[in-house]
C-alpha cells in the first residue's frame, strides 16, 4: 500500500457547493436548489488560469485521486493519472472533480430529499442530461472563480460532457480531451444499457423505484446490470489474458459445481457494486448516455453542432475498445476537421478494452501530458499578449 501511495496526493477531503437558486433542466422541470460534492487537487494560481475539470463516467464520482483516509485500500478512480508529477500534474494544475447531479455519492440525486414533499426523490428525480450536468458544473466553476478551464477532460460519458462544454461554453474551455467517447451512442451500445435497465426494473425489490420506502434494494438487478457492463468494458483478448479458462473452485472430473475465474470476478464486481451504487442513479446515468447527441439540434449534423466552438480538442481511443470504438472517436475527429477546428487524435494500442482509459498506459499518459502542457503554454501566451494589448490601449 505504501507503494501505491508514492506520488500520491495523500489524504484529500470532499467539499460541498450549495446552489441556492432555481435550476431549470432541459426537460422543463426545475430543481429549487441543488448540492454538488467535489474535490480539488493542486493549487489554483493567482489569476485562476490553471484549472482543469475532470468529468466522470457512468459509475464515477468526485473522488478521482488521493485517499479519503490513510488506511483506505484504494485511491480515487483516476489516481493513476492525477497527482504530483503524473500526466494530469497537480504540481502545475488545479484539478476540479465532482459528483454529477443525479449521482449517488453526495450530490443531489434520487437519494436526496425533495423539498416539495419532504420525502426522498427516488424515481421522481427529474431526468437530467449531459447539458444539465455541464450547466451545473459551470455554476460550480463560477463559485470557485474559474472563468476559463485550461481543459475539460473526460473518458466515456465524461468525454461527452467535455464535448458539451465546448459547445455550450466555448469561451470557458481552452481545450477539451475526449477519451474513449462518442458523439452519440450506437444502437448496440443503447441495447446494452437497456439490458442493464431491464435487469434493475424487473427485479422485484425495485418496487417501481421506491425500494427505499420498503427498505429494499434491487441488488440482483443492479448486480446483473454491472456484470453486463463489465463484460462490455473488457476486450475478448483482455479477458483471455486475465482469466482464461482458469477455474476458481470445483472440479470437472467430479462434475461438481465448477466456478470459472471470470464468473467469480463478475460476481464479486457485481455484488460490490450493489453496496455503493444506487439503482435509480444507474438508470438516470444510462439514460443520459443514451440521449446524448449534440447533433440532434442541428438536423443530425455534428459538424454544425461544433461550428461555433473555439475549443481545441484531443480525441483518444483504444484499439480493443468495442463499447466506444476508435470508429466513434473518428466520427468526432472527422466532424471537427470539417468544422475547421483544431484537433489531434491518437488510437492507443491496449488489450484492456474500454477500461483502458482508467489505466496508466505509457503512450496514453505521455500524449495526454504533452497536450495539457501545450494547451497551458498556449493559453498563457494568449493571456500575456492580450494583457499587452490592453496595456497599449490604456
Amino acid at each position: 500500500m505504501t507503494q501505491s501511495k508514492a506520488n500520491s496526493l495523500g489524504v484529500v477531503e470532499p467539499r460541498r457547493y450549495q446552489h441556492n437558486s432555481e435550476f431549470w433542466l432541459q426537460n422543463g422541470e426545475q430543481l429549487h436548489e441543488y448540492e454538488l460534492v467535489f474535490e480539488t487537487y493542486g493549487t489554483l494560481n493567482a489569476d485562476k488560469s490553471n484549472a482543469i475539470l475532470i468529468c466522470h463516467a457512468l459509475s464515477g464520482h468526485h473522488h478521482a485521486a488521493g485517499f479519503h483516509a490513510l488506511d483506505d485500500a484504494k485511491p480515487g478512480w483516476w489516481d493513476a493519472c492525477i497527482g504530483p508529477g503524473k500526466c494530469i500534474d497537480t504540481d502545475q494544475f488545479f484539478i476540479l472533480s465532482l459528483n454529477n447531479l443525479g449521482g449517488c455519492h453526495g450530490s443531489t440525486g434520487p437519494n436526496s430529499i425533495d423539498p416539495n414533499t419532504g420525502e426522498i426523490f427516488g424515481p421522481s428525480f427529474p431526468n437530467v442530461v449531459v447539458k444539465d450536468w455541464v450547466a451545473s458544473q459551470a455554476h460550480l466553476a463560477d463559485h470557485l472563480g474559474i472563468k476559463k478551464f485550461v481543459a475539460v477532460v473526460g473518458g466515456s460519458l465524461g468525454g461527452m460532457q467535455a464535448m458539451q462544454w465546448s459547445i455550450d461554453f466555448p469561451e470557458r474551455v481552452y481545450a477539451a480531451v475526449l477519451i474513449a467517447s462518442a458523439a452519440k451512442l450506437s444502437a448496440q451500445n443503447i441495447a446494452f444499457n437497456e439490458i442493464a435497465r431491464q435487469a434493475i426494473t424487473t427485479d422485484e425489490d425495485y418496487c417501481s423505484g421506491n425500494y427505499q420506502q420498503f427498505d429494499k434494494n434491487p441488488e440482483k438487478g443492479l448486480m446483473l446490470a454491472r456484470m453486463v457492463g463489465h463484460v462490455t468494458y473488457l476486450s475478448e483478448d483482455g479477458m483471455k489474458t486475465k482469466f482464461g479458462r482458469d477455474v476458481k473452485s470445483g472440479n470437472f472430473a467430479q462434475g461438481a459445481d465448477v466456478e470459472f475465474q471470470v464468473e467469480s470476478y463478475l460476481h464479486y464486481q457485481g455484488r460490490a457494486f450493489t453496496q455503493y451504487f444506487d439503482a435509480n442513479t444507474y438508470l438516470l446515468m444510462t439514460r443520459a448516455l443514451d440521449y446524448f447527441d449534440p447533433a440532434r439540434e442541428f438536423d443530425g449534423d455534428l459538424t454544425r453542432a461544433l461550428e461555433q466552438t473555439t475549443t481545441k480538442f484531443l480525441v483518444l481511443s483504444f484499439s480493443t475498445d468495442w463499447r466506444f470504438s476508435p470508429e466513434r472517436s473518428q466520427e468526432i475527429v472527422d466532424a471537427l476537421i470539417r468544422a475547421r477546428k483544431n484537433v489531434a487524435s491518437a488510437i492507443i494500442e491496449s488489450e484492456h478494452g474500454h477500461d483502458s482509459f482508467l489505466l496508466p498506459i505509457n503512450r496514453y499518459t505521455k500524449i495526454l501530458s504533452a497536450f495539457l502542457q501545450r494547451s497551458y503554454a498556449e493559453l498563457e501566451d494568449i493571456s500575456r499578449s492580450s494583457q499587452t494589448t490592453q496595456g497599449d490601449l490604456s
Binding site: 491518437a346 503512450r363 500524449i367
Partner: protein, 200 residues
C-alpha cells in the same frame, strides 16, 4: 526547415486549408500554422511523431494512409501534401486520385529510382540500389512502390492529372542547372505540383 519543405511552404497561401499526408514531426505544418495561419492537419501513424506534433500544437490525426482518404470530403482542402511517402503506400495510384479528390491541388515528392547511382548499382553490380535516400535492403524496405520520374509522369498522363509544376533537386534539395539537362538521370528528388485535369 528542410529544403524541400521550404519549397512547399512557398507555394501555400496564407490562411489555406492544408492536409499533410505522413506529416512526421509536423515541421511543415508547424511552420505554416505560425507563419501563414493555415488551417492544417497532418496524418501520421507513428506514436512518437504524433506525440511530438501534439507537443508542438500541430493538428495531427492518427490515420494510416493505406486506409485511403474516404473520411475527407471532396475539395475540402486547398492543398494536399505528401512528401517522401508515395513509394511506401499500398496503392499509390488510388492515393494520388484521392489527394486530388479532397484537394484543389496537391504536392507530391518522392525519390527517383532512375537516378544514375541507382542505375549504376543495378547495372554494374547487379544489386538492388541502396542510397542515402533509400537506405533499406530489399528485404526490409518500407518502400514497396518505387518509381522513376518517367513512371510518375506516365501515370499522370493516363490519369489525366495536370502537372502544374515540376522541380527536380539533388540530395541536398538544391536545384542545379545540370540536373535539368537530364532530370530522370541526375535528379534525386522530384517535387510535383498537381492539379485536377480540365475535364474532371
Amino acid at each position: 526547415m528542410r529544403g524541400d519543405l521550404e519549397l512547399i511552404a512557398g507555394l501555400i497561401n496564407p490562411g489555406a486549408r492544408v492536409l499533410d499526408l505522413g506529416c512526421g514531426e509536423g515541421e511543415l505544418l508547424n511552420h505554416l500554422q505560425r507563419d501563414k495561419r493555415v488551417n492544417g492537419y497532418g496524418l501520421d501513424r507513428d506514436a512518437e511523431n504524433i506525440r511530438t506534433c501534439v507537443s508542438k500544437g500541430v493538428n495531427v490525426i492518427e490515420q494510416d494512409l493505406d486506409q485511403g482518404l474516404d473520411n475527407f470530403a471532396k475539395d475540402s482542402f486547398d492543398m494536399v501534401v505528401m512528401t517522401d511517402a508515395l513509394q511506401a503506400v499500398k496503392e499509390p495510384r488510388q492515393l494520388v486520385r484521392d489527394m486530388l479528390r479532397v484537394g484543389e491541388e496537391c504536392i507530391v515528392t518522392f525519390p527517383n529510382f532512375a537516378h544514375w547511382r541507382c542505375r549504376a548499382q543495378l547495372a554494374l553490380k547487379g544489386v538492388m540500389p541502396v542510397s542515402e535516400q533509400l537506405p533499406h535492403s530489399w528485404f526490409d524496405t518500407p518502400n514497396i512502390h518505387l518509381c522513376t520520374f518517367a513512371d510518375f509522369e506516365q501515370l499522370c498522363k493516363t490519369e489525366s492529372i495536370n502537372i502544374i509544376q515540376r522541380r527536380v533537386v539533388d540530395a541536398n534539395h538544391q536545384e542545379k542547372a545540370f540536373i535539368n539537362w537530364a532530370p530522370n538521370f541526375f535528379g534525386t528528388y522530384a517535387f510535383y505540383r498537381l492539379g485536377k485535369s480540365a475535364c474532371s
